[in-house]
Amino acid sequence: MILTEVMASLLLISGCFFYIAGTVGLLRFPDVFSRLHALTKADNLGLFLICTGLAVNSGSPRITGLLLVVWILGLLAATVSCHLIARRAIRSGQAEPPVAEPRAADPTP
């Protein structure tokens, strides 16, 4: 019982760490592509760790399954939107770093 709680806590804390790292990357990296890199890589890992932590904490197979679906959907959405943003950035000639404005990428609606 204690062991699972400790494990869950560790997983959640490390998940948060990756989220924070991703956010710092988003804010501090110079251009669109490295920012995307920071966001998608770190956040996907963070989401995975948090989902796993929650799954361990719940101990129920049904919730574990749901969390798995959440993670996969998050992964998919991140992949595709990252791809679209990068594509748009290349096409609109923003491939050169750096960009002064923090939110340079234009996620086309």
Binding site: L76, A77, H83, L84, T108, P109
Partner: protein, 311 residues
């Protein structure tokens, strides 16, 4: 204690986002802040033990409204001069008194609300006592389709009116308003769609059937289904058409018509008006509502009288 800290941070975040929505110079940024505001609000609903609202806020408040705002912004950019960074405020000498008046109102509302004592015997408490009479165990669904079904019916009329109104003012048919097939070429998008659209249907159906006993219901389900439709529009799978087909028109009025006719039939057979006879009737009406809500929201997003499948 931790709960209180989370609530404080969340509350500060909500107020901050609201402030940024009003203050930021770029309209696009303001819209993003508003969408984030919606997401934080849905967290607040979860904190306030209202998962039904958390779902609705995330799907409708932040999701569909956000998509509507962004797509309209885009259309304004395509069709007109870019004045989204132009003069933002009216004359400064009026802004100050208005700010003071708003602040005063905030104080009055806050002060008033904090003075409110808990009143016994509210309509809500009665609802919880009488919930078995409706036959569903989710009290929110019980209110929406049982005790206060008339509100829900009128709300569907409001949604219909919004569509009729949008159709009435959109005289000029604007082609190329949706991004179109440029995105469809991307192989990843196709793969995502083939996965996400079926999932949105599945989730909508799940939310519909869960609504009786757990958070969910026609509105949340309808919004999720609409999200699938919005994706199809965005990726050029669905195109704007100059006229709504007969099927689309039936779909738009379906919820309102089925709901009213069920109510009228019950009344004609001697029952009270709008009392849905049994759980099956609730699900029948909810299904019709879900379809109408989803279709209407997609049509509103497309800002077109109708839709057709892209060639």
């Amino acid at each position: 204690m931790i709960g209180l800290a989370i609530d404080s941070v969340l509350a500060l975040g909500i107020v901050w986002m609201a402030l940024q929505t009003v203050r930021s110079d770029s309209l696009f940024q303001a819209m993003l802040m508003f969408i984030v505001f919606g997401l934080l609000m849905s967290l607040a609903w979860a904190r306030l033990h209202a998962p039904d609202l958390a779902l609705a806020e995330a799907a409708i408040g932040a999701g569909i409204t956000g998509a509507l705002l962004l797509v309209t912004w885009r259309r304004l950019q395509v069709h007109g001069p870019d004045d989204s960074n132009g003069p933002r405020l009216m004359t400064r000498w009026l802004a100050l008194p208005i700010a003071c008046a708003s602040a005063l109102l905030v104080i009055i509302i806050g002060w008033t609300a904090l003075q409110l004592p808990a009143v016994p015997g509210t309509a809500g408490e009665l609802t919880l006592q009488r919930l078995e009479d409706i036959g569903v165990s989710n009290p929110v669904t019980g209110v929406l389709l049982g005790f206060r079904a008339y509100d829900t019916l009128m709300e569907m009329a409001v949604l219909l009116a919004a569509w009729l109104g949008a159709r009435a003012v959109a005289t000029e048919f604007r082609p190329g308003v949706l991004p179109g097939p440029a995105h469809a070429e991307v192989p990843l998008v196709g793969a995502l769609l083939s996965l996400v659209v079926p999932i949105s249907i599945l989730v909508a159906v799940y939310l519909l059937q869960a609504g009786g006993s757990a958070p969910g219901g026609a509105f949340q389900g309808g919004a999720v289904l609409a999200a699938g439709g919005v994706l199809l529009c965005l990726t050029g799978r669905l195109e704007a058409a100059a006229q709504a087909s007969a099927l689309e028109r039936v779909g738009v009025i379906l919820g309102l018509a089925v709901f009213s006719l069920t109510g009228l039939i019950v009344m004609a057979t001697g029952g009270p008006m709008l009392a849905l006879p049994g759980v099956w009737a609730i699900y029948l009406v909810e299904t019709a509502l879900l379809l109408s809500i989803a279709l209407t929201l997609v049509l509103l997003f497309a800002a077109a009288p109708g839709l057709r499948r892209a060639p």
